[in-house]
Subunit: 424 residues, 2 copies
Amino acid sequence: MTSPVIAVVGGGQLARMMAPAAAELGVHLRVLVESPGTSAAQVVTDAPVGAASEEATIRALIAPPAGQARADVLTFEHEHVPNALLTDLIEHGTPVRPGPHALVAAQDKIVMRTRLGELGVPCPRWRTLPSTVDGGRAALTEFLAEVGGEAVVKLARGGYDGKGVRVVSGADQADDWLVAATEGGPPVLVEEKVPFRRELSALVARRPSGEVRTWPVVESIQRDGVCSEVIAPAPGLSDDVAAQAREIATAVAEGLDVTGVLAVELFEVPADPDGPTTVLVNELAMRPHNSGHWTIDGSVTSQFEQHLRAVLDLPLGSTDPVAPWTVMVNVLGSERESLTDALPELLARFDTARVNLYGKDIRPGRKLGHVNVSGADLDEVRAAARGAAALLMGDDDGRAASTGSREESAAPVVGPVETKESAL
Amino acid sequence: MTSPVIAVVGGGQLARMMAPAAAELGVHLRVLVESPGTSAAQVVTDAPVGAASEEATIRALIAPPAGQARADVLTFEHEHVPNALLTDLIEHGTPVRPGPHALVAAQDKIVMRTRLGELGVPCPRWRTLPSTVDGGRAALTEFLAEVGGEAVVKLARGGYDGKGVRVVSGADQADDWLVAATEGGPPVLVEEKVPFRRELSALVARRPSGEVRTWPVVESIQRDGVCSEVIAPAPGLSDDVAAQAREIATAVAEGLDVTGVLAVELFEVPADPDGPTTVLVNELAMRPHNSGHWTIDGSVTSQFEQHLRAVLDLPLGSTDPVAPWTVMVNVLGSERESLTDALPELLARFDTARVNLYGKDIRPGRKLGHVNVSGADLDEVRAAARGAAALLMGDDDGRAASTGSREESAAPVVGPVETKESAL
Ligand SMILES: Nc1ncnc2c1ncn2[C@@H]1O[C@H](COP(=O)(O)OP(=O)(O)OP(=O)(O)O)[C@@H](O)[C@H]1O
Ligand SMILES: Nc1ncnc2c1ncn2[C@@H]1O[C@H](COP(=O)(O)OP(=O)(O)OP(=O)(O)O)[C@@H](O)[C@H]1O
Ligand SMILES: [Mg+2]
Ligand SMILES: [Mg+2]
């Protein structure tokens, strides 16, 4: 049987979670991994080792010297890839999905804000800071006055999990980044600090032929700048705001010509839950995203399978949920020697828990796995997902299962933004 | 992270479908494959090549010479393994699950019938035929008279997919098998030809600590002696008969000390749907089974994950269905060059179809994959699953989707048994 071949750059958990979907569809995955034994290398038989930045490595990933089948398409599990090479590959006949013209809007927050503005998509107020200390300070002073004393400064490139995001209240608080920018570091932008009610995520997939499918909009809860929990669908979200979020995701996917899965991170505003709510776009990820891990167990088609279908330009699958609620809780670091040590107690206590471990070495705060639980009672589902994840993190008394309740997370948020600083 | 290691004998689709479950649980699979590139070898990174009958090969599978981690347990995707070796492995400290004392009841239909009888489990009337032509004929004549003219003769060992099963009406119709038996071939048994209403399957998992979980009882439809379709749960099955079937499966798992997944194939009798119904056991499979493929998409815990949990003596997962109905249709052979050629049309027409392809070369009648569809309307679900499977088989006008309706399959069955002969 001749299978389609998909080349994937990046050997982490996102590539790993593509493997089951590829196996089911009869698709051959070839994953470029950073080193032997990475998360994806453990479960993908064709996993050459190399650096994503090396041209020869990427070319060999597509057309292996040993004569294995040529890849039909190149895709990514992260956005850190050299775009000039991608453009060249496309010119020489290899489809790259998403393409570099789309990817740049996920790689650079200034490009992103500019493009979203052009598309008429609602965003926080923002401004690029000039890349000099004096010019940057002056612009920041002005912006702070305009938005009322506090703002969020971000590195345009290279940030992830809140690294590269900082709340400031004085014009000198971004000096280090401004200095770095003068020395070839990433440009810096500033945004109003959005008084959001909560964070949402709208996940969408689009294929080259144009077909687009969105999943139900979810609530995503960050802790210390890192996604810790996702509730699908977002509880109490009005049909109106949900439709708006799905429309925005579709508009962005179409407007930027995205192919594959796109996650649009959103702020639901205003913080006051009594007023009429709307959404602003925070940022974009052009790949399967942490806010979509719930789809593995909670939706007819997972984001991983959908991504593979989309980049092969195959028809997309149903995004219907399979249960009223699915909650995903991340395993962020662990006190344990080995996560699998938690399984006897975890599986006994939570018999509906869908455990997904990424095979990574344990490090503090690191994304090591997640747990999905689906069901009809949100409180029960959430308690089970949190309890199971807490056990994996080595939190045997279930502390994590009882903190950060919905009520807390739904309160007008200062916390999530301010904790950024501790993450830097 | 140190992962549990499970060694699996057999590189077909059953081992292949264990791979996603193993990846999610953070379990390392080591699969003994018959040759490079088999179904499982395509998706399992640790897949040594060798023959299941060779002692050195099995020992190396458990304790690889290159110093990789020792397997924590040995399990199987088929029952064709030398039991003396297994007994020796156990004596030297390697858990073998299911154990040889249980396995033999799935390997040998005479042992199976004898043990089931001892457990008081309802079976068809049966008898071992003496392994001489004269003695066999005499016993068969007597049995045919007893049951009324027709009976089913079976080889005790080595049969699968209906090969080794034959309907007879005359005492000389098993001569070839009787001759073979005198020459070292498998012994022969005869059973009454059960006038069944339909075939059911009760799937159960049991772990060494004793925990047992059963899935909803399904209807399984055979064509030419091969499973072609499974409906979960069995439509219109009375609570009473369903409970009986689940109890039988539990009793067999406990009575034979089975560990891992056990499929109990059942006949629902009598054919007349108006009378009170009951079940008889046809046969046993001690491994994930075709009648349980629906659980991949239709149950909280799939049979593959459950098997891995069971053989590691981990707590078992919920066997609740995730939808009112799930229908599985097998892809048996194909007119196509490549199954993936069917995907554009299939995925466009059936957006809830869960396609699972096994990566096997196409041969007439061969199990090449399956399609699951879940939903609330049985007729729709079934039409979609059949339509999708028909496209994979290259049946573009959807013929397979319109034949073999429930009504036909529910009719008093002679067909399924008589078609056996053509399969031989
Ligand atoms: N303008 C803003 N107003 C308020 N909070 C913000 C703003 N921008 C970012 N945040 C907070 O910081 C978090 C991280 O910001 P952002 O998503 O831009 O950073 P990142 O490092 O790219 O993170 P990711 O891991 O999602 O890629 C957001 O999820 C949100 O909680
Ligand atoms: N005693 C019987 N009376 C009526 N039909 C029978 C009987 N035994 C077997 N059959 C029919 O033949 C089919 C195959 O029989 P059996 O399961 O014993 O064979 P097998 O070759 O071991 O098949 P499998 O592929 O399930 O292992 C059954 O599913 C049933 O349709
Ligand atoms: Mg973000
Ligand atoms: Mg059978």
